[in-house]
Subunit: 302 residues, 2 copies
């Protein structure tokens, strides 16, 4: 089986990129789109993010065999409730949220009897909204699918095929494990970036203008992540609280050890730590998960 | 006045980039280079990082009117002592180190009576060594000069001109203030990046393979900085201890507040913080200090 009609609910960076990728994949899938914000629907029509942009969520999902919720994690339950009356009985309902346990529970509650197969494409940029999407966003990126116990294997396989047709590589795992993995690889990095950028903005002895001017020393890297969508990230931390707190405390323990090494002038401990971390970077580049060029291939000083 | 013969001591990323930029600037400056590592000197000759690569530090600095020490912060004193007997009496001795107070003290001790004008180009990549440099590294980047009290104004002006001829914008400030500014914009970001990459490598419930695969969620950004030269960064933290600990404690206070917001489910506090940080990113891009394209212009998934 494969999906012939796909409804995209929420037309920001991820929803828009799905629509554009489907338009370009040559498989002839029909797409409908809906966003609760009328201004977003206007931009979505202008950019052609879906074949048809509907002004009503029910119109968007009626007849669709795959419905993908691309709204912030905290808006999933409401979005599901809005489409419930018009869903086809045999459709697959999926999503793209960054935490999976609470979303799975919310969708199961809101859509009893429907086939719910949550997913999470690990891809994005710091931009958001209907102008941010592009068709190659998922190329060479992993998409994690978290089928609940009892999910229909044929429908899971169809969702795997769907993401692969968008250029992604697919892995399946348990929702709770997903939430721990993403706490490490995504949520804690965002939390730290948001915090350090906030700290640097409010220094008493260093001005904001100085922080901006000399940001090429490393700080600017953090500002990219800290420019991500505030609503999306507030919801991630509200919905993946336990795994984030667990991983944050591990990080804080390691940071306290590093602080003590600096205080004590323990150069060997620092050197050992700083040497080990290079290997991880090499592996990420080797696996095609980052640009091999120095400085991410930035061209701003050339 | 301007510098007609420049000696570069240390031929890694920064020293090599200075040599290549001088070769390309068309001003006819003569350059000599020296590195304590014979293998580095061999690569430096092959790449033409200076007009003449010397096997002895004294040969490199004899007759030079500007000597730039481009070695790790902890190696500055030894490098200065090695060239002391052969320096021209009226030459300017400068450096490119990331902390300025301890370097100023070390160079003043090691080279009594010489004109010492420390400097710090805020530029770099995660790569190091004689193959890492490129001639445009300093374009549109700030170089901070920290003239000690009593520095010769004509020589300070010549050093400003020198860095501007390499494409940099120049600011002068006090060494102690430099150390605070760079603690925020460079040293703490590196410390945090090294620590989180170390934390993620040693998780019990998440494998290293998973960390690598799903790093595009944000983690990979930190691995670039955490791939920087371990010796250089060990020395930075040993030599800018006070400012780093002061700024680290401010960050830790803010991170504790964020932890409490997550624990208490305080979405409003998170939303407010995450909204403010976007503005800093916009200012950095507007000032030409980062690539305006999404995702730093990375092309790895296109």
């Amino acid at each position: 089986m494969s999906f012939r009609r796909v409804a995209i609910i929420g037309l920001g960076l991820i929803g828009g990129s799905i629509g554009l990728a489907l338009r370009d994949d040559g498989l002839g899938t029909t797409t409908t789109g809906y966003d609760a914000d009328p201004a977003v629907r206007t931009r979505a029509r202008a950019r052609g993010l879906a074949d048809t942009i509907c002004d009503d969520p029910g119109d968007a999902v009626r007849g669709a065999d795959l419905v993908i919720l691309c709204v912030p994690v905290g808006a999933m339950r409401e979005a599901a409730a809005a489409i419930a009356p018009d869903l086809s009985p045999d459709c697959v309902v999926s999503d793209v949220g960054s935490s999976k346990r609470t979303i799975t529970d919310a969708l199961t509650d809101a859509l009893p009897g429907f086939e719910i197969i949550p997913a999470h494409p690990v891809a994005g940029t710091e931009h958001s909204g209907p102008d941010a999407g592009f068709s190659t966003l998922f190329n060479q990126r992993w998409c994690i699918i978290t089928p609940p116990p009892g999910a229909n294997p044929a429908k899971v396989a169809a969702l795997v095929d769907f993401w692969e047709s968008l250029g992604a590589m697919v892995e399946t795992m348990d929702a709770d494990h997903h939430d721990r993995v993403l706490a490490v690889t995504s949520h804690i990095p965002h939390l730290i970036a948001y915090t350090i950028v906030g700290t640097a903005s409010d220094m008493e002895t260093v001005t904001r203008s100085e922080v901006i001017k000399y940001s090429a020393g490393g700080f600017r890297d953090f500002t990219r992540i800290a420019a991500s969508d505030p609503t999306m990230w507030r919801d991630v931390f509200l919905h993946n609280k336990d795994a984030v707190l667990e991983m944050l405390d591990t990080f804080l323990t390691d940071l306290a050890l590093m602080r003590e090494a600096i205080r004590a002038g323990d150069g060997q401990m620092m050197y050992d730590t700083f040497s080990r971390t290079r290997a991880i970077r090499r592996s990420i580049v080797a696996l095609g998960q980052d640009d091999p060029r120095p400085d991410f291939g930035r061209s701003d000083h050339k």
